[in-house]
Symmetry: D2
Subunit: 323 residues, 4 copies
């Protein structure tokens, strides 16, 4: 292997820059040439590919977003699109790829590998932490801390006004951000897609709180919860318990930005090193991950199809700590 390329794809996540930096510098360290591809698969198709050096990635370890930009690509879902992408890479004699992204990215990478056998190793970059094969994904810890900071701020005003807040956090079909920011924020209740909360549970929790003279409450709702989004749930609750003072806050895209936390930068650095060294060891069609503090490689297909459950300890302590 002499020449590799790196790109970011799908939803951006804080720490992607730290990962790009690690990929580039590890390549330089191992005497590989390294290229950057702009806007994920789109740039691959359009030939937006440029050489990178150690200096290209100076002073970016702390920045949110991705200097390579990201996008979701419709064209890469077509055979013609992938053909163009492959020709661009071939022309530049690129013989290895590092793909930083989530399940959509790895699905694409997996199909591409089946067709062209260009060695590819992935790094899990998504705030949702919904990938099997790694305990944490790049960006998750930052998103949780951003959500937590918002919950802390909202608790100030909830407490001052004796209000009940429904706070909606990101995570798509996964409740990880909700469960971690909710425990950290001392939420009275956390609604995640992984557990079946009934509407009566919500009513009961609020009633019990009032019985114990608890005047303000925080209920964290994962955007993918099966009972609906925060606005819908709040409206239903208001109908049944009309005397409460309810507010809804949707944390939104702030959860995607910001300087990454130490944990995300370190994880991103380890995985960037691991991806390049995996390529050098002949690995392909796998994602680098850290499980129980060890670097491991998991086939793309498993990362996408297998399920990563929330630790039952976490679900249990929500009940205990809201007494």
């Amino acid at each position: 292997m002499k020449r590799i390329a790196v790109f970011t794809s799908g939803g951006d996540a804080p720490g992607m820059n730290a990962c790009i930096r690690a990929v580039v510098r590890t390549a330089v360290y191992h005497k590989l040439e390294v290229f950057g591809i702009k806007r994920g698969y789109n740039g691959m198709i359009q030939g937006d590919i440029f050489p990178m050096t150690s200096f290209s990635v100076s002073n970016i370890v702390q920045r949110g977003g991705t200097v390579l930009k990201s996008a979701r690509s419709m064209e890469f879902k077509t055979k013609e699109g992938r053909q163009k992408a492959y020709e661009n890479l071939k022309r530049l004699e690129i013989d290895g790829l590092v793909a930083i992204g989530g399940d959509g990215t790895f699905t694409g990478a997996s199909i591409f590998y089946d067709e062209y056998q260009l060695p590819t190793v992935g790094c899990p970059g998504t705030i949702d932490n919904d990938l099997y094969g790694t305990d944490y994904t790049i960006g998750f810890d930052t998103a949780v801390n951003t959500a937590l900071d918002a919950i802390d701020k909202i608790r100030d005003t909830a407490d001052s006004h004796d209000r009940i807040f429904f706070i909606e956090v990101m995570g798509r079909d996964s409740g990880y951000i909700a469960i971690e920011s909710g425990i950290g924020g001392g939420a009275e209740m956390i609604m995640v897609p992984e557990t079946l909360t009934t509407f009566n549970d919500v009513i009961e929790t609020l009633r019990q709180g009032w019985d114990r003279s608890k005047t303000s409450s925080i209920i964290v709702v994962a955007e993918g919860d099966e009972l609906g989004n925060a606005t819908e749930i709040a409206e239903k609750v208001k109908k049944q318990l009309p005397h409460g003072d309810y507010r809804v806050s949707i944390l939104g895209h702030t959860q995607r930005g910001g300087a990454p936390t130490a944990m995300d930068r370190i994880l991103a650095s380890r995985l960037g090193v691991g991806a390049v060294e995996g390529l050098l060891k002949g690995m392909s069609n796998v994602m680098a991950g850290v499980v129980n503090n060890q670097l491991v490689y998991t086939p793309f297909k498993e990362t996408i199809t297998k399920n990563k459950a929330i630790h039952p300890d976490l679900i249990r302590i929500v009940d205990i700590l809201s007494v």
Copy 2:
């Protein structure tokens, strides 16, 4: 004057605790007894009034929210409510009040003073900065910095994905938070109730940006803008320019919480000292404010009725800096 009481009322604002602390300690410094009233006018009516000491306010200068809690009171709008409130204060021999809040608070205080002549000095505590008689209100600088931090985070992801974001900030009928967070955040456009932006201006700004290859944009929308809220504006824009990738983010109640900034703590401290010393000098029915770095007192009626315009320099530089 021997015995005063302090309360917070209306929407809470970061720095209210720093102001309460200053009121209590200034009272102690001048050998006054000082009481706290819980939940604004509600606590006054219900007699939820308790003595405070220097220690009561230790270690609160940095906390968001208000340790005295806040509320909007319907009962105080009735003659009977105010009568009960007065009797509670009289029974405790309270001969001076410090009211921390916004225009609703001062409207109530003004009526109460007309009826019972209990000397009252106000401190402007609201994130909206919509009170005449002070350059800034307590909580405004913190709210602006919270909004700015969110805009910075959103710009990371807007830039990574070449998206246009409509970000809605608080401020009720005032555009202060929008204009300051928008300039600070480098927004391409800022929509405030104080200026008449037409819908065509929005379209034109986006078109011009695209012409100059500007791929991502931030448009800050004050919640009280005359063209509608951020969601409504985004939908209308999408109809006219359907190829853009738009997102809406409503910053919401995070803007009300959090540790106050230095500026808010200092302003709150000066105004708390000024309110108590104003009472001692025989002032009443006025709000303490800081104008051009000098402590001034303005009659409640003026603070409510007079308008405080946004400095034209600020409105002008938005246009210049978005070139």
Copy 3:
């Protein structure tokens, strides 16, 4: 078991309050009575012990420091001191203890247990992360992020002025804070007690940087490094390479404070639950920890005497990423 007590001892760490809250609420959940002891072993000796309820720990999950205060106790090192402490606990019929602290705390707890057999479970609370039996200690992640935030700020000015900064971080005999904040901060070199850096390595790293036109550098120094503290190292370097522009920054006690991160609050919550439920299961003289995401209990004696090495991957990637 009917009545337990909790205390914090040794150096304080962010997240101790989240742990106290979890201990108290888990006790309430399991129908135990729970007491708080002030200032660690000192309060135990002086009888500064008071009942706690669910409400005692409301709204503290986000606060740095410890509401129970902490201290190092000389008197508890004497047989007489421990005797007094035991009598106070006995009089209150306390039949279980939760000790939150570090190796000094657990050494004391271990001796106390040998003498009086009062069941005690520990929670690892120290920013240093130097305890065997848990992957992370409560407070470590917050301290790392605080150090990282300072390094980010210093890099701004280092880069603007082409300067070399020696930044000293806490950790006593452990290099954990240095290694994690250094990797996260993109440091050119990290000096920790666990590895033998020679003085020539420092000179060589700086020379190589200059050869590659690297004009600013960050060198993170663990306070326990065998080559000396940051000031001493900087002075020696300046003698050998006098033309560089060097600055020293000692991050100091800011690393001990601040709102805990999500990771610290969650860890503290799990361990607080685990400590109380450990007592209920009959455990004693052990520390609750989380290893590979599982709750485990390790005898106090092992936690103090066994060594927890820094993962070799982390040490290795420093070299790779500074190319």
Copy 4:
């Protein structure tokens, strides 16, 4: 005027980038060509001057440091150095300069103007806030908030351990950072060069605190205080009151970095616009400032020689609020 250049000089300050951005975009807005000069007067002498566009300053409004880098120049103090600088500017047909910096910068600019009459307008960029002709300097508000955040963190641990902390903040001969961060942080005492604190005052404040059972204290010391630095003062205090538990923390260079606050970005933006428009109006040898919320221009000589006193209200409220 057709072509201007901008540079940053002296100690860097957060917000300098926002100012550079405003200068560049205001120049573009008024159809001027604009150049950047690297490393202050050094780059002027070495001809390190390059054209800038609107895009050059995209996405820098939020960054600490200065993208133009800064330095103190020995060579510019010589007639030969200034001659070279002038020739470089003349060759590029630059007919106006914007200098962002502090008193050293403006002293140089003033001499340069006397010799070559090249129109120059300054923007006050220094964290020290020690320039006459503007209420605040760019970077001051950020430095104060950084110091305040550190004081908040230290108070957590001071309070947990009943300790007295001496915290040294920056500001050279000025006590502005100390007074504002000290009031904001609720310091028990603030030592600034502008007031003569005797050593007995320190002893007395600590004694009175103990008498009122105040167990922890924060004393903020300006680096330029006439009684010595924080370490020296702490040592003297320890000799006289040996039973106290003292710690010293020197906040150092973190105060120079970090994302600028809203206030600093807005001030920097106004002043950047004001500097360019001042040049266009024919002004020269003056500094743009904001006094009482109005843009004003003050001759360089006055900005350097005249004194800006700390508002007496601020000094007074320290005493009141520490009761």
